[in-house]
Structure formats: C-alpha cells, structure tokens
C-alpha cells in the first residue's frame, strides 16, 4: 500500500536531512505507529506522502502511484485517496462542524442530498452527534481532533494518516481518539499514526517504526516503546 525506498528529504542545502534514507513498506489494512521525539522527521514523512513536499531522493509508491511520475494536476486526485488528520487540525474557523466535514465532500462533486446523509453518519462514528451546528471554537481540543478525523474519513480513503492526533489531549480523550482510529482500521483502512505518547504505544501493541534524526532506528511488530 505504502512503499518508501531510501527516501531522503533536505529542506535547504545547508541543513542536514530531515529524513535520511528511510525505507518502509506498509501492507494494506495495516496499523503502523511512527514514533520519535520532536524534530525526528515524523511530520516530514507524512508531508511527503501527501505530496505537500517532494522527496529529495528515493522512491515513493502509494496505492500503485509512483510519485516521480505524478503530474502537478494529478496531485488533487492523490490527496483525495488519502485521509489526513493534521497535527494542527486545519479546521475552517468560520464554518460549522457539519460544514467543515461537508467541505471535503463538496470539492469532489457530491450532491447536497448525499452529503446530508453521509456527514451525520461519520459524525456518529467519532461521537459528535449533536455538535453539527457548533463552530470549531466552541469545541474542546478532543472534540476538534475528532472533527478532523471525521473530515479525514468521510471520503472513505484507503489510507488514513494521523499526525500526533493525541498530542494535546489528556489520557482519557487521547484513548478515545485511538479507539476511533482502531475502529476505522477494522473497517479496512490502512492507518499510519505518529505519536510520542509512550503509554498509547504500549497499550496498542501494533507495529512501531521508530525515527531518530530522520533515520529509521527500529521497525518491530507488536512493539512497546522506549526512547
């Protein structure tokens, strides 16, 4: 599903690479946790997958698409196939919760009727029924995080990428979010999750890829986590 072959990323010539020859192979329906301290390169890795950034060297193939052969005008189509939960949510502050989720469907040409049917179902999955008409600012951090997840999954992507979705949450809410991701994974979506929350990693018992200074230092199934 996701294949990285010795991928490096250097943002500017004078700095050392943020990713250094990273190789990674993720099977369909897998649940992979990418761990590493702040600055290890987790977000950079995800940005390469969504083509927000281009790799400096190496090969990336996602869902059969070779990124070297991707044309600029094909990037939107690629992004529609990958659901992304951004580290900073990226919700639109002047749209309601419903509108924020519907937004992702509007841009792919879904009819209003279908949108009105789909959005409540997804809000139900993330336990936000009843918050449709709230504005993002009226929600707690955990709720906003779940709106971001709802928007990421509403188009039923084959791949879900979540960048530190538990970052600013207390343990209980963090675990709620993780349970939602597990549920989505059970429905058949490949999940790539980054975190530096040790407790979550230990409880999840999933494959863990550890990044340090842009390099993969370990890649183990059913792993715990220690820094």
């Amino acid at each position: 599903m996701i294949l990285l072959d010795r991928v490096s990323k250097t943002y500017s010539k004078d700095t050392k690479p943020s990713l250094d020859r990273v190789s990674l192979h993720v099977e369909p329906k897998e649940f992979v946790i990418v761990v590493g301290q702040s600055g290890a390169g987790k977000t950079t890795l995800l940005r390469l997958l969504t083509r927000e950034e281009r790799q400096t060297t190496g090969k990336i193939i996602v869902g059969g698409i070779d990124y070297d052969k991707l044309k600029d005008r094909e990037i939107p189509l690629l992004r529609r196939k990958i659901g992304v939960v951004f580290q900073d949510f990226k919700l639109l502050p002047n749209k309601t919760i419903f509108e924020n989720v519907a937004f992702a469907l509007e841009m792919v040409g879904m009819g209003n009727k279908e949108i009105r049917n789909t959005v409540p179902k997804v809000l139900d999955i993330v336990n936000l029924t009843g918050k449709e008409d709230n504005m993002p600012i009226q929600l707690s951090g955990g709720e906003r995080q779940r709106v971001a997840i709802a928007r990421a999954i509403v188009r039923q992507p084959k791949i879900l990428i979540a960048d530190e979705p538990t970052g600013n949450l207390d343990p209980k809410h963090a675990w709620d979010v993780i349970k939602i991701l597990e549920k989505i994974n059970r429905y058949g979506t490949t999940v790539l999750l980054t975190t530096h929350n040790q407790e979550i990693v230990n409880r999840l018992k999933r494959r863990v890829v550890t990044l340090k200074d842009g390099r993969v230092v370990s890649d183990r199934a059913n792993a715990g986590y220690k820094i």
């Binding site: 951004f86 639109l92 937004f103 040409g109 879904m110 009819g111």
Partner: protein, 314 residues
C-alpha cells in the same frame, strides 16, 4: 461524471457569489473604477454614433450648383454632365432645366409672393443648373479645378455656388468628432488598464484574506479550478454589476439632464438622436457593456490567480 461536474460548477458559482457578498467593501473600489470605464465606453459609443449621424445628415444636403448660360445647347449639356459624373469625387450630378429651376425656386420661396411674381413677369431669369453631390466634402479641389477649366468656365453664367456655411458646420463637427474619438479611445484604454490593475489588486487581497482556507482546500485535494473558479466568478460579478450601473447612469443622464448635456456639447450634440439611439440599441449596448465588464473582470482575475495562487508543485 457529467452530473458531478455540474454540481461542482454550481458550487464554484455559488461560492463566488457568497465571497462577492462577503468582500463587498473590497469590491466597491473595484466596481467604482469599472463603472467609470464602462460609462466612458458607453458614452463614447453614443456620441460617436450621434456625430456620425449628424455629419451624414448635413453632408447629404451639401451640393455644388453650376449655372449654365441660356446659349448652352442640349448636346453640350449632355457632354458636360457626363464629364462631371466621371469625376472620382462626384457621387451624383442632376440636371435642372430652366423651367425646373423656376419650379424649385417658386417652391423654395412660396411664402414670398412678391418675389415669385417678379420672377414670373421677367420671362424666367433662372439659369439651367447642374447640381453636384460630392462624395468627400474635404476634397473639393478636383471638382473646383474642373469647373474652372476655360472650356467649362465659358458655359457658365455665374461662378458655381457651394453650400459654404454648411461646409463650415461640417468641418467643425468632423473636427470635434475626431478629437472626441481620440479622447474617448485614450480614456477607455487608460481606465481599462486602471480597472484591470485595481481588480487584480482586489483579487490579490481576497486571495491573501483566504490563504488559510485555500491551503486547507489544497491539502484536502481540491482541484485547481475549484479553488480558482470562485475568484473568477467574483470578478465576473464585478463586471456584470458595473455594466448595469453604467447603463443606469447613462439612462439617468438622458432622463434628468439632457439640457446640461446639450449645453456642454456646444449644441453640436443631437440629444434627441442620441436618446433614440440609446433606446433603440438598448439591448445591444447592455450586452456589449456586460461582455466588456466580464472580459475586464475575467482577465484581471485570471492573471491574479495565476500569479498569486502559485499552482505549481503544491
């Protein structure tokens, strides 16, 4: 697929309209300058047509009369007529016999019975006349030199008469029209450029105000046209609204201040005709203005979005 495209198209139009309403304060400056531009265009079109009409009207009345001696016979007349007609600047030449000339004279002076009586008593003193209508009034020299050839001159009783005063009026109007045309063209170009720049700037500002939203749309996989479309729709709305306002302005000008307009045009402008032209061609002029507004709006926003949305590689 077709249905999806239609939905997307309407969404783009809808978003453009919503953004237009939301950005109305920005839009006002852009539309004000566009209204000025389109009003100048419309005004120029009307003036131009009105002056052309006036010139045509006066031109068609202008002629040159050649008075023939009573001794000139039919054969000579026919030969002269043929020669005159073959001159390149002659549109037509008509022959009035002595009797016909008298009839015309009587008709022209029907109010003055004494004069008519005097003429009738003196056994028709009017000469047979050839009336020449020239094609181009500004170039009568070829006709004049032909008429002053000795062979031609000796057939004439009096020097030919030109409708001289009318010629002067025509010169004045032609000159005014040419000047106005030039001013109009320059003004239209200047204001169109200023309009494009200001709309360009407005769209740039709108893009700046919505940069977060645009970035999020990109990351969520919105297509280029879905992001760009609303800005173009928005500036097309500027064009359409401005066109309508400018047509309204001209309409009001005719309604309210035709006397001022008359005075300010030195009496050269045939307000009646201008108004008639505006009324008759209302639909065509409206469409023309709307199309022009749309073109100005679309061009500026196409350039602005290309420049500031930086579609490449992101």
């Amino acid at each position: 697929m077709g249905k999806k495209k239609l939905i997307t198209f309407w969404r783009i139009v809808h978003t453009g309209m919503v953004n237009f309403a939301r950005n109305i304060s920005l839009a006002i400056a852009a539309m004000a300058i566009m209204v000025v531009t389109l009003t100048i265009v419309l005004f120029s079109l009307i003036i131009n047509d009105t002056f052309s009409h006036t010139i045509y009207q006066i031109t068609s009345k202008i002629d040159i009369s050649v008075y023939l001696k009573d001794s000139v016979n039919q054969q000579q007349t026919a030969k002269l007529l043929g020669e005159i007609r073959s001159l390149s600047n002659v549109q037509s030449a008509a022959y009035l016999s002595k009797a016909q000339a008298l009839k015309v004279y009587e008709a022209q002076n029907s109010s003055n019975q004494q004069l008519i009586q005097a003429v009738q008593e003196t056994n028709n003193p009017l000469p047979a006349t050839i009336i020449i209508k020239p094609r181009n009034l500004n170039d009568l020299s070829s006709i004049k030199s032909f008429l002053s050839l000795p062979a031609v001159n000796k057939l004439q009783t009096d020097p030919p008469s030109y409708s001289g005063q009318e010629k002067q009026a025509i010169d004045r109007i032609t000159h005014a029209t040419n000047v106005l045309r030039e001013i109009g063209v320059v003004a239209v170009i200047v204001f169109a450029v200023v309009s494009v720049l200001i709309i360009f700037n407005t769209i740039q500002m709108a893009i700046f105000n919505r940069r977060d939203e645009i970035q999020i749309m990109r990351l969520l996989g919105a297509s280029t046209s879905y992001i760009r479309g609303p800005f173009i729709v928005e500036s097309i709305i500027y064009g359409v609204v401005s066109a309508m306002i400018s047509v309204l302005i001209i309409n009001e000008a005719f309604q309210a201040s035709s006397t001022t307009l008359q005075a300010s045009s030195l009496g050269l402008l045939d307000i009646g005709y201008a108004n008639q032209f505006f009324t008759d061609k209302f639909l065509v002029l409206l469409i023309l203005e709307v199309v022009l507004g749309i073109v100005i709006g679309a061009v500026s926003s196409l350039i602005a979005t290309r420049r500031y949305l930086k579609f490449k590689s992101r």
